[in-house]
C-alpha cells in the first residue's frame, strides 16, 4: 500500500533498505550463531547518519521524528530484529536526555549519539522490578558534589557496548512514586561494571547484560531533569519508544511473509505448488491482512505521537500490542508454511519465530500495554 511518504521519508526507507539487504541479511544467520555484537553493521549505519534521524539538528542530528525512525526500524527489523534492537536501544537510552535533560546535558551527549560514535542504553529493569517498576532497589545518594549509586540493573540491552547509560535509581524512598530520579552514567565512571552476557532464545546479535553499581560516583550535574521526576521520565520515554518496537514486528512480519510466499510458490506437493491449496493461500492471506493492518496502525500512532507529544500513551501501547502479537502469529505461520524445512536453520523463518517472542515482552509486556489502554479508556470515559 502507498503511504504517501515525502521525498525525505522515502530516502530514509531506501537507505535503510539498502543497509538491510546489503549488510544485515547476509550476516544475520552467522550473528545468530556466534551471538557477536554487530559492530561493523552499526558503524555503517552510523556513517549513513541514521543514528541521528530523531535528534534535533542543533545537536548534529537530522531533526526528524518518531515516524521517520519507525521507517528506518521497519527495514532493519525486516533484516534482523537482533541488529535492529541494538540500534533501537541507543534511541531508548537517548530519549530521557532529550525529554528531560538540561541544555548543557543535551549539548554534551546528543551529538555523539547522533553520529553513532557513542551508543546509549536505558536501564530500568532489576531482578525484582520488571513490569512493576516501583520495585527498583538501586539507590542514588548525594554526597557533596557527587551522586553515589549502588545496585544492579538486569537485562540491559547494549550493556558493555554503549558508552552512555540512562539509569533510574531511588533518591528518596519515603516519597514513593516521586522518590526516583534518572541519571547519566558513563562507561568509564568509577564503581561501574557489567555482569555476564545473557544467553537468549532470539535477538542474539544484541547484547543483554547486567549493570553493576558499587559506590559508583558521578558528578552532581548528571541528574536528568529535577530530582524525583525519574518515573515520569521513564513513562514518557517508553511512550515515545514503543512504536519503534511495534514496527520491528511489522518489519519482521514482512520478512516472514516474503519467505512464506516465495516458498509456497516453489514447493510442489501432490503435483502442484503448495500455494495452490486454499488452506495455504488463506494462511498467507491472513498473514498479509494482519501485517498491513499493523503497519497502518503503527504509522498512524507514530504520526499521532509526533503531532501530540502530550497524549502518547494509548496510541503507543495499542500499536505495540497489535503489531507484536501479529509478528508472533505471522512468524509461527511462516514456519508452518515451510513445514519441516521451516524448522531447520537452513531457512531463516525459525530465527524469525524465535526473534518475534521478545517483542511481546520487552519495553513493557503486552499484558501491561493492555492495562495501559484499559486505564486510558477508563479515564477518557470518566471525563466525558
Amino acid at each position: 500500500m502507498d503511504y504517501f511518504l515525502t521525498e525525505e521519508q522515502q530516502m530514509i526507507v531506501d537507505l535503510s533498505r539498502q543497509i538491510a539487504d546489503e549488510l544485515i541479511i547476509p550476516q544475520r544467520a552467522a550473528l545468530d550463531e556466534s551471538e557477536d555484537f554487530p559492530t561493523e553493521i552499526l558503524d555503517a549505519v552510523a556513517k549513513a547518519d541514521l543514528f541521528g534521524i530523531y535528534i534535533p539538528e542543533q545537536y548534529g542530528g537530522i531533526g526528524a521524528g518518531t515516524f521517520e525512525i519507525v521507517l528506518a526500524l521497519e527495514q532493519f527489523g525486516r533484516g534482523c530484529v537482533g541488529v535492529a534492537t541494538a540500534f533501537a536501544a541507543s534511541a531508548l537510552g537517548a530519549f530521557p536526555i532529550m525529554i528531560a535533560g538540561s541544555e548543557e546535558m543535551k549539548q554534551k551527549y546528543l551529538p555523539d549519539i547522533a553520529t553513532g560514535s557513542k551508543k546509549a542504553a536505558f536501564a530500568l529493569t532489576e531482578a525484582n522490578a520488571g513490569s512493576d517498576a516501583s520495585g527498583i532497589q538501586t539507590t542514588a545518594v548525594l554526597d557533596g558534589d557527587e551522586w553515589v549509586l549502588n545496585g544492579t540493573k538486569q537485562w540491559i540491552t547494549n550493556a558493555g557496548e554503549a558508552r552512555i547509560y540512562t539509569v533510574i535509581a531511588i533518591t528518596d524512598r519515603s516519597k514513593g512514586p516521586r522518590g526516583a530520579s534518572m541519571f547519566v552514567v558513563e562507561d568509564t565512571d568509577p564503581g561501574f561494571s557489567y555482569g555476564v552476557k545473557e544467553k537468549k532464545l532470539g535477538i542474539r546479535a544484541s547484547s543483554t547484560r547486567e549493570l553493576i553499581f558499587k559506590d559508583c560516583r558521578i558528578p552532581k550535574d548528571r541528574l536528568i531533569g529535577r530530582e524525583g521526576t525519574g518515573f515520569i521520565t521513564v513513562m514518557k520515554t517508553l511512550d515515545k519508544s514503543r512504536p519503534g518496537i511495534a514496527i520491528l514486528g511489522v518489519g519482521l512480519g514482512q520478512a516472514a511473509l516474503d519467505e512464506a510466499v516465495t516458498y509456497a510458490k516453489q514447493r510442489v506437493q501432490f503435483g502442484k505448488p503448495i500455494i495452490s491449496f486454499q488452506a495455504v493461500q488463506h494462511m498467507l492471506a491472513d498473514m498479509a491482512i494482519q501485517l498491513e493492518a499493523a503497519r497502518s496502525l503503527v504509522y498512524a500512532a507514530a504520526k499521532h505521537i509526533d503531532a501530540h507529544p502530550r497524549d502518547m500513551s494509548k496510541a503507543s501501547s495499542m500499536c505495540k500490542v497489535f503489531a507484536t502479537d501479529m509478528a508472533m502469529k505471522v512468524t509461527v505461520d511462516a514456519v508452518q508454511v515451510l513445514g519441516g524445512y521451516g524448522y531447520m536453520r537452513d531457512y531463516p523463518v525459525e530465527k524469525m519465530m524465535r526473534d518475534a517472542k521478545i517483542l511481546q515482552i520487552y519495553e513493557g509486556t503486552n499484558q501491561i500495554q493492555r492495562n495501559v489502554v484499559g486505564q486510558e479508556l477508563n479515564k477518557e470515559y470518566t471525563k466525558a
Binding site: 521525498e7 525525505e8 530516502m11 530514509i12 531506501d14 537507505l15 539498502q18 543497509i19 546489503e22 549488510l23 555503517a44 556513517k47 549513513a48 547518519d49 541514521l50 541521528g52 534521524i53 537530522i62
Partner: protein, 259 residues
C-alpha cells in the same frame, strides 16, 4: 587539497547485451550504475578529504541522465559535481574522451589530484586515466592499491603488479587509477542524499570548455569497432623431453623453424 574524481556511467554488468549488427553495446532498458572501480576512486577521495581537508569534485562526460551518478556520488561524500554534456561528444573513443575531460578539468581550474577507476566495465580499455594524465601533462600511476603516504607536495602509493606491488613516490599534481583492493566504498548517507537532492549540478557544453570541435565525439575518434569477440585460446602445446642439452637443442631448432 582539490581532488577531481572521474566517474563514468556504465550499464549494469548484470544485464549488458551486445547489438550483433552494430557491434555496439545496447543500452536500452539497461539499468545504469557508477562504474564499480570509480566508486573506489570516490571513496579514496572522500577519505583523503576527511583526513587532510579539501574538496572532492566528481566529473563525468555523458548524456544528461549521467547526472544520476553525480548525485549518487554526492550522497556518498563528494562536495561538487560537474557534468560535461553535449551532442558533439557522442561516439567518443578514448582519445576524444580524454580530450573532453582534460578541457573540462582546465575549465574548472585543474586539481591537485585526479582519481580514476582502473577501467570502465563497458569500454574496458583502461586508457582514459593514463590518456588524461598525458593530456594534462602530469605524472600518473595506474592500479593503485594503497595510498601509503600523503606529503605536502608528493604522495607515496602502492601500485598493484602481477607478482606483488611497486612502491612509487610521485609529485603533485598527479593522476592515479585505482583498483578495488584500495578500500571498501561506503553506502550513501542521509545528509549526503539530502544534499544531492538539492544540488545544482554544473553542466558544461563543448563551447563552454573551449573545445576544438574536430577533436570531439565521433569526429575526433580514430577508433573503429570492426568486430567485438571473445578471443579463443587455441595455441598448440607440446612438451620437450630429454636431457637439458637435448631440450635446448630441440627448442633452438623449433625457434629457428618459426623465424
Amino acid at each position: 587539497m582539490k581532488i577531481i574524481v572521474c566517474v563514468k556511467q556504465v550499464p549494469d554488468a548484470k544485464d549488458v547485451r551486445l547489438d550483433p549488427k552494430t557491434n555496439t553495446l545496447s543500452r536500452e532498458g539497461v539499468q545504469s550504475i557508477i562504474n564499480p572501480y570509480d566508486r573506489h576512486a570516490l571513496e579514496e577521495a572522500v577519505r583523503l578529504k576527511e583526513k587532510h581537508g579539501g574538496t572532492v569534485i566528481v566529473l563525468t562526460m555523458g548524456p544528461p541522465q549521467a547526472a544520476e551518478i553525480l548525485r549518487e556520488s554526492v550522497s556518498c561524500g563528494a562536495d561538487e559535481a560537474v557534468l560535461v554534456s553535449d551532442r558533439a561528444f557522442a561516439g567518443a573513443d578514448t582519445l576524444a574522451t580524454t580530450y573532453t575531460l582534460s578541457q573540462a578539468i582546465r575549465k574548472i581550474g585543474g586539481a591537485d589530484l585526479i582519481l580514476c577507476g582502473k577501467q570502465a566495465i563497458d569500454g574496458d580499455t583502461a586508457q582514459v586515466g593514463p590518456g588524461l594524465a598525458v593530456r594534462m601533462d602530469i605524472p600518473y600511476v595506474t592500479c593503485v592499491r594503497r595510498i601509503a603516504q600523503v606529503n605536502d607536495k608528493s604522495f607515496v602509493v602502492e601500485r598493484l603488479m602481477d607478482d606483488g606491488y611497486d612502491e612509487v613516490e610521485v609529485g603533485l599534481p598527479a593522476l592515479f587509477t585505482v583498483v578495488k583492493e584500495i578500500n571498501e566504498p561506503r553506502l550513501p548517507s542521509l545528509k549526503g542524499k539530502m544534499k544531492a537532492k538539492k544540488l545544482a549540478i554544473t553542466t558544461l557544453t563543448a563551447a563552454e570548455i573551449d573545445a576544438d570541435v574536430a577533436q570531439l565525439g565521433l569526429k575526433g575518434s580514430p577508433t573503429w569497432v570492426v568486430r567485438v569477440f571473445a578471443p579463443q585460446l587455441k595455441g598448440e602445446r607440446s612438451m620437450i623431453a630429454g636431457t637439458v642439452q637435448e631440450q635446448v637443442d630441440q627448442l633452438a631448432e623449433k625457434l629457428l623453424e618459426w623465424c
